[in-house]
């Protein structure tokens, strides 16, 4: 059964309360949201295996802190989509603005279009697949998880990176401090294969290059002071 909630006639508070209650009840319900018209904080804080489809574009922090829920945006999203996501799947059919998946701890963020700057900033275990291109400063201080980009990456990819893995199929405009290209080993092919399949991406793992931390900034060293 699908319940439709119209954001043009229903207050955001009521929409989120309804979704949060359904998720908490682990009801496996389906919801459809109409007329988001760029509204902020839509479908945030869900904690349970419900499915939400948003027909249109959203504003800031759509699907923020998601747990277990499957959220699909049939449109584009504003800054900070799926920020601090814990688990579940968030799919964006259009483009994502800056900070997509910021500080995410888990789950899959699947962006069918492009993501702009700071995608995966400070990510802590989330998997992000971007079918298009990504902007500058993506995966800044990224700690854990995988960022897969089928298109090109902008400037300063992976600056001050920790242990997150970055896979880019296209070109990389520039690498950030301490980020280097690394060998694509069989275990990485496996990770990629799995993520590409989950994301429904038409690409071969072997086409990607892997980037990661050279770990030179892990402990202060005066000879690398210029990179701080």
């Amino acid at each position: 059964m699908t319940t439709t909630l119209d954001l043009a006639t229903t207050e955001l508070r009521e929409v989120n309360t309804t979704l949060q209650a359904a998720a908490k009840g682990k009801a496996n319900e389906d919801f459809e949201l109409t007329n988001p018209r760029g509204a902020h904080a839509v479908a945030v804080g869900l904690d349970g295996p419900i499915s939400v489809t948003i027909n249109g574009s959203t504003g800031y922090y759509c699907a923020g802190m998601n747990k277990e829920a499957t959220i699909t945006v049939k449109g584009s999203t504003g800054p900070g989509v799926a920020e601090n996501m814990m688990s579940g799947v968030v799919t964006i059919e259009g483009d994502a603005s800056q900070y997509a998946g910021a500080t995410g701890h888990g789950g899959l963020l699947n962006i069918k279009g492009n993501a702009s700057s700071r995608c995966g900033i400070s990510m802590k275990g989330i998997d992000i697949v971007v079918h298009g291109n990504i902007g500058h400063m993506c995966a800044f201080m990224a700690q854990k998880g995988n960022l897969v980009v089928l298109g090109d990456a902008g400037d300063a990819l992976g600056d001050s990176l920790y242990e997150a893995r970055l896979f880019v199929r296209g070109s990389v405009k520039s690498l950030g401090a301490d980020c280097v290209e690394k060998e694509l080993r069989p275990e990485h092919i496996e990770i990629l294969k799995d993520l590409l399949e989950k994301a429904g991406a038409d690409a071969k793992p072997e086409e990607f290059k892997r980037y990661g931390s050279s770990r030179k900034l892990y402990n202060f060293n005066i000879d690398h002071a210029g990179e701080y």
């Binding site: 508070r13 800054p79 601090n84 900070y99 854990k144 005066i222």
Partner: protein, 441 residues
């Protein structure tokens, strides 16, 4: 035989022993000095203000008999569940990681016994802390270490940290020595690395974006939790006004005396304003917006006793917050560890290498042996005692000024001892009705 008179050795004031030692240290190591604690320089402070007391024109209240209330409610603007405290002094945010588990537990237990709240820090919420704190404020920091919606919901309030007094404009630091397996696990970091926290939040910049971030946090927590915004003492008028405009329930203002787990000494000593200079502009901003007492103001940075507390309240704050003082109350820098502090090349009172994780008192450390020195139950009792003393002292002063609630203390109850304090706090110099910058002079 007469000796030719010689000029005795004369030390340079500019190139003092300390300045020269720092030059040599920098030359030898190539890295700026990193340390914990707060500023050590002399600053105009609450000591430079005095209460007038009541005599003929005002009547004092009887100590112990006539009521002098100390309760305060934080978060009355938008939150469905404001925080009610018995005393207007809270425990400031300090991270698990910077502090040991037993120290965090002691703070939680002690604050709860005294009827007030404690605060998490950069590094997430621990069971020690949640379990032993009746009221726990969950810090929302740029790093978002350990951030998750479950802890957000089991917090009693959310404090969005924009800055702190020790380093307005800077991020946190936790050096490799303290990133143990448990700390690293909570922060999703490799063990033993230097953790450098960001200075800006990863997904918003500026008050216009912050307003939307606050909306998201309220939507996730059913509009129940008070949202605090913590800023370092930088531009207190604008920062307070913008926090209010962004939708804060409470503004936490931390002067430059506020401590820190670890940052550059140059930051601690040279960035930010003393809390004495911050309170009046912040209160002015609240008054200009018609929000004084509606959006509560909590101030911190060098609060040590009930007199400091009473003076902060008289200048217009709703509550104060303590960090360093709370640590000392539970045993930090105790002279009984003097020999061990000496072995580290320092003294108990001067110890500030909180970032090295070797604290003999077992508080600013992750060393399993050292942290055993903190007995959370005993330490909690000491914190409770100390908070009670502070409160009694504050009440004593409020009664002496004729007030039945500590919040009725007002700037007119004060005089200033120095021109600096008079100017910064806009309190008349003792014996005059004038302060520097007073309109009409």
């Amino acid at each position: 035989m007469e000796k030719t008179p010689h000029t005795p050795p004369r030390d340079s004031y500019t190139f003092s022993n300390a300045a020269n030692a720092e030059i040599r240290r920098a030359a030898a190591t190539g890295i700026y000095d990193i340390r914990g604690g707060g500023t050590k320089r002399h600053l105009p402070h609450f000591d430079d203000l005095l209460f007038l007391g009541a005599s003929m024109s005002r009547y004092p209240l009887e100590g112990y008999r006539e009521k002098c209330d100390t309760s305060v409610t934080l978060g009355t603007r938008f939150a469905k569940k404001p925080i009610e405290l018995k005393i207007p002094v809270t425990i400031a945010g300090m991270s698990f990681g910077a502090l040991s588990g037993p120290a965090k537990e002691a703070l939680g237990r002690g604050a709860t016994m005294a009827g007030t709240s404690t605060t998490t820090g950069d590094g997430g919420m621990t069971e020690e802390e949640r379990g032993h704190s009746e009221k726990l404020v969950y810090q929302y920091l740029p790093s978002r270490y350990g951030m998750n919606p479950d802890d957000l919901r089991r917090a009693d309030a959310i404090e969005i940290v924009v800055g702190q007094g020790a380093k307005p404009g800077g991020g946190g630091m936790l050096l490799g020595q303290k990133i143990t397996e448990r700390v690293a696990g909570m922060r999703d970091l490799p063990v033993g690395i230097d953790q450098r926290s960001a200075c800006r939040h990863p997904d918003w910049t500026g008050p216009d974006d912050l307003e939307i971030k606050i909306l998201e946090l309220r939507e996730i927590t059913n509009w129940e939790k008070p949202i605090y915004i913590k800023v370092g003492g930088a531009r207190p008028y604008y920062d307070t006004a913008l926090a209010v405009k962004a939708g804060a329930d409470v503004v936490v203002l931390d002067g430059m005396q506020g401590g820190t787990a670890a940052t550059q000494d140059v930051f601690i000593e040279h960035v930010g304003q003393p809390i004495l200079a911050c309170i009046r502009p912040a209160v002015q901003a609240l008054q200009d917006l018609g929000m004084h007492r509606k959006v509560q103001l909590v101030v911190s940075g060098g609060i040590r006793n009930g007199a400091d507390m009473a003076k902060a309240l008289a200048l217009g704050a709703d509550a104060v917050s303590i960090g360093t003082a709370a640590l000392i109350a539970i045993g930090e820098q105790d002279p009984k560890w003097g020999a061990e502090y000496a072995a580290l090349g320092t003294t108990a009172d001067a110890y500030d290498d909180w970032h090295e994780g070797k604290d003999p008192a077992g508080i600013t450390t992750q060393d399993p042996e050292l942290m055993k020195r903190v007995n959370p139950v005993e330490a909690a009792r000491m914190l409770r005692n100390y908070l009670n003393v502070m409160t009694l002292e504050c009440q004593t002063i409020a009664r002496a000024c004729g007030h039945n609630h500590v919040h009725n203390l007002e700037p007119e109850d004060l005089c200033a001892l120095t021109m600096e304090a008079a100017a910064m706090a806009q309190i008349p110099l003792a014996g005059t009705n004038w302060y520097p910058g007073k309109p009409g002079f």
